[in-house]
Amino acid sequence: MLAVLSALAAAGPFVWAAITTFKQDSDLYRRSNNPFGYNEPATSDHLQFLLTGTGFGTFAWNTLWVGVLVVLITLALALPAAYSLARLDRPWAGRMGIAIFFVYLVPPTLLFLSLSRLVVALGLQDSTWSLVVIYPTITVPVSVWLLIGFLKTIPKDIEEQAMVDGYSRVGAMVRVVAPLLFPGLVAVVVFAFTLTASEFIYALAFISPSAQKVISTGVPTELVRGDVFFWQSLSAAAVLVAVPIALVFNLFLDRFIAGFTQGAVKG
């Protein structure tokens, strides 16, 4: 009962957005009409407008490939760093881990002014590549932090045993630790991608041409012309983006949580 209630509270705005998507203008803009039902026949005009008449496809594509590249860069940087901090027993490892996590607390709002200068210096202004370069600043610190946690859940003995059996440290890392780390890795990938897709400030500050925009900035800027909001198309965009991401995340939720808890259970 409570479950249904909370599901409704969480998903309510999206359900309503889905209803709005197929409404005719004359149905939508009448104050006395029931906003939860159709008072006039439903229409898919606004959905078609979103898909063919706007840059929605381009935005989605940009978000996707930026996200994938950012995730790859993040893993390439964060995985070795996390391994180093979690496994190699340097005396400063704990403090360094916390220092890296604090980097995450430096808000984009503080950095975007100077970063936009940097982006110009790199010749990347108004290009989606600027986001590929800058987004890992958001994802790397959290990922390092999460990966340290996941790595600590893998007993050290397993690795030491592998090294005794003749693997080098790198060999043990790749053949023994990596497969065990996989669930945690997936969680980090999903988390990093979600962060990238939601980012707003950098995308807003760095990029102005429509063709280079990502979903989170493209939709609110291109579908609002002055005071005119294309409500049905905006709603459709929100639903179309929300559902697939939530589906993927839901698939990996158990792994995400399993990775989080393994440490505590095993002590």
């Binding site: 249904v4 705005p13 940087l77 490892a93 430096v106 100077s114 500050a205 989170s216 808890t261 259970v265």
Partner: protein, 317 residues
Amino acid sequence: MGSSAPAAEATARTGEPRVADLRRRGIADRDGVLSWLLLAPAVVYILALVAVPFLLAVAFSFSDVTGGDPSFDWVGLLNFERIFADPVFWRSLRNTFVFTAVSMVFIVIFGKVLANILIADFRGRWIVRFCVLLPWTTPVALSTITWLWLLDSVFSPIDWVLRNLGIIQSNMFWLGQPTLAMISVIAVHVWRLVPLAAVIMMAGLLSIPKDVQEQAAVDGAGYWRRMFEITIPLTAPVIAISALFGAVFTFTDMTVVYVLTRGGPTNETQVLASWAFFRGIEGSDIAQGAAIALFLFPLLLAAAIAILRAVRGMEIS
């Protein structure tokens, strides 16, 4: 070297081929060097794209850099004097704290409740979890847009329901009145971050060994007693972490305010982050924007240290 070969053979026979191994291993096996090699890319990247811009932002706040005149001239504390003289700054500072504190309380409470719901086994659990995750996994700008429409001054369905129930006569103007606008902004923050808090807390709940709960139940502890004497103390560190995440996301976020109210009505819902953005980008006064944004950092740092300390203290006890 000559003498190590027989030694290696000897240890190999006892099952510990240490010496031979040590020779085969190169730089990659000296922990000190390796740890820096592995850490270096991430650290260099962070220094280049976070530390340098951060220092640059600090420098900007002592300068007169604007969008139109990007030359750097030192002006000392002038920007800060101007900020302190501006009532909007104090308003934003207060709002930032109010938003963060109020949202955090609700996020922790609802997150806890939601986590308890989500770990229970029931039919249709999958669909409930899917619905619950939606607010967090959707890009903030998009989910906030749907709220903008939900809170529309004329066509808000919330008002429609209230009107038809006879509770109100005319619309509420959710985003047009200071108090209601603040409530709206907080509500959207809470709605969006509760799922994240719930997921983190689920992890904590699942880590409590089942036998502890069962034993307590056998010993006659009721649901609420178990909740307050076992579940909450054992998951306190996780609750603190989810509170930290909630606080950081609320504290530094400007998207909800930017999309929902643009700081209005008349800066009543302005927060530091959005005020810095309006000043720095739309007002083109980069120096002042940087100075405003700078206030976020020490406060965040203090909050983070406090919470991390609390977590550590709990882990030791």
